[in-house]
Structures are given as structure tokens and as C-alpha cells.
Symmetry: C2
Subunit: 201 residues, 2 copies
């Protein structure tokens, strides 16, 4: 029996989106499941002094080009850069945290739908009503999802998850931890794959 691999992501992260589309198949090739961890990079960036890639001189223009090119490279051909970017991701992250506590078997389905709404259909999922509506389209009670976004217990739960992620060394998205070994970026998935196959090198 082998442990799930931990996948940390921010809903506003293009590389996180690409990773989210690849990670389950990658894990399954090695008999693993995925443990999903939504994080709020804005909070993490305060610790690392980072700013969103697209706002950095020189890096910003490159990044936008690389997002689209990397998505196509990894076979995520319907990626498109959202009109509003970056966004706050409390609303979708809280929906995931809420589902994990109340309806865990719906987590992955709703998470993929939220990510695809943002990075394929250009829906601003920072909007709580829209985020809840997407959960509703997946078969979840949309009213309950909307209420969860404002529920102090869910807010606290997400804050705690975020603190635990930072304590685990997470500082970017996607971030994968395999049996204690950390990998940052969808461009480390080849290393993740080899690590799963060989246990290290």
C-alpha cells in the first residue's frame, strides 16, 4: 500500500492548471492516488517576497508566451489565457475544502470543472456566485456551495491548510510531494515520474 502523492495548486496558476490535467494519469501509472491541496499563493508570496510572474518586467511577457506554449506541449490544447488575471482564489479553494469535508468523492470532478471554467471558458471563478454555480453544474448543491464560501469554519479550514502547505515548504504552483520529496512546477513532472518509478536517483 503506497501513499497518495500530494498535489498543491492555486486556481489562478496556469502551470497548476496544466499539472491538474496530467497528475492523476501520472499517479495512476504508478498505482498512486492524488491528494488535492488548494493553496492561496498570495499568502505564500508574502513569505517569499514574490509577485505574480506576469507582473515581473521581462519575465511577464515571456511567461504569457510560455503558458500557452507549455499547455500545447503537454497536450492541454484548449488552454486560453483568461481575460482577468491573476484572480483571488478563495471562492474556488473554499469549495474544494468544503467538498473534501462533506462530499469527498465530488472533489476532483468539481476542481477540474472550476479550473477549466477559468482557463478554458474564461469564467472569473473568483466570483463566489459563479464558482458555486460551476459546482452546481457538477451535481453538487449550488446553494450549499455558495454558503460554504462564506462559512467561517471553511474559511478557517482553508487558512489552516495553507499554513500546513507553507510549513511543508510549498511556495509555488503546482507543487508535488512524493514520499517527502518536493517537486516544484509542471516542468518537474518528468522527475516526479522517474521518482515514482525508481524511488529516487
Amino acid at each position: 500500500m503506497t501513499a497518495a502523492i500530494d498535489f498543491y495548486f492555486d486556481f489562478s496558476s496556469p502551470y497548476g492548471f496544466i499539472g491538474s490535467e496530467k497528475i492523476e494519469a501520472l499517479a495512476a501509472r504508478h498505482g498512486r492516488k492524488v491528494a488535492w491541496h488548494p493553496v492561496l499563493l498570495g499568502v505564500v508570496f508574502k513569505q517569499t517576497g514574490s509577485v505574480p510572474l506576469t507582473q515581473v518586467p521581462l519575465k511577464g511577457d515571456y511567461s504569457k508566451r510560455d503558458f500557452a506554449r507549455s499547455a500545447r506541449f503537454h497536450g492541454v490544447t484548449d488552454f486560453r489565457m483568461p481575460t482577468v488575471f491573476p484572480i483571488s482564489t478563495q471562492a474556488p479553494a473554499r469549495i474544494v475544502v468544503w467538498l473534501q469535508r462533506t462530499n469527498p468523492e465530488m472533489t476532483a470532478r468539481v476542481l477540474h470543472a472550476l479550473y477549466r471554467a477559468f482557463f478554458v471558458d474564461d469564467v472569473d471563478i473568483s466570483n463566489p456566485d459563479r464558482a458555486a454555480a460551476i459546482a452546481g453544474q457538477c451535481g453538487v448543491d449550488a446553494t450549499a456551495a455558495r454558503a460554504a464560501i462564506d462559512d467561517p469554519a471553511i474559511k478557517d479550514a482553508l487558512r489552516l491548510e495553507n499554513d500546513k502547505a507553507i510549513a511543508a515548504g510549498v511556495f509555488g504552483s503546482p507543487f508535488v510531494i512524493v514520499d517527502g520529496e518536493p517537486f516544484w512546477g509542471v516542468d518537474r513532472f518528468e522527475q516526479v515520474e522517474r521518482w515514482l518509478a525508481t524511488g529516487g536517483w
Copy 2:
């Protein structure tokens, strides 16, 4: 007849070192040569507001682990983290710029020797005497190499090269440009390879 691919690197960059060990074979598989471009990331970082990876909270510890793991992953098995890091790289960069103008056929050999001195043998190549001595071990006139490091014309030439790199959008190391398409990082070499094979996707 196809153009050389441009490889930009800083001598203090571990990923630049890994890339420098791989890029010629990669280029050769597609009938290309490599045009080497030493840059001073310290100057570039002033424009992007970046700091060396190892000095960023959380990212720093991860980076040191990833340098070594990525080196092994890419088959550069004798990589070791230098005792003094990061370093100023004016001395080795000026030697390269000087050779490109006076003895171009020695450029690659000396460049590899300088990089390997720093990242394999733990020699502080920021020291002009040591950098010149390494060039000397490759068969270059060490006294002339040492003089080149203090030559105002060579200093100006490196400054100009650095300005041209920034103007071309370079902000990190390694940075590869293939027929106008920019790729940042040794973790983009797979994309570089596919770009060379297909002309884009």
C-alpha cells in the same frame, strides 16, 4: 543553412551549468551550432527585481536540493554545490568575450573548463587570477587572459553584450533562443528539442 541557437548563461547559475553540458549535443542532433552568450544576471536582476534563488525564503532550501537532483537527472553526475555561492562572474565572462574576439575556436573549451572548475572542483572563478589560470590550463595564454579581465575594451564589450541580452528579453540562466523563440531554463530543453525538430507547435 540554419542559424546557430543562442545560449545565454551566467557562470554562477547551476541550471546554466547543467544546460551548458547538454546544449551542444542537443543542437548537433538538429544540425545546429551553439552561439554562447555569457551574461551577468546581477545586472539583469536589477531590472526584474529578482534575487538569487538561494536567498529566497522557502525557495532557497528547495533550490539547493533541486540543483543537485536536476544535475543527476540530466546525467551531470559530478555536480557539487560550490562552497562560495553565488559569485560575481565578471572575470570568467570577460575571458569568454575576449576569446570570442581573439581566439574563437577556444571559446567552448575554456567556457566548459571554467564552469566545471566552479561546479565540479569548487574553484572560486570570480577570482581573476584563478579564472585566468584555468584558461591557461586549456592552452590559452594565461597572462593575456588575466590582462583581458582588466581591459576597458573587454569590459565595455561585456556590458554591451549584456545590454543586448536584456534587449532580447533574457532574464534568467540558461536562456535559449531558437529562431526568435525564447526558452527559459534547462527544464525547457525538451521543448527546445521539439521546437528544433518541428519548427513549433
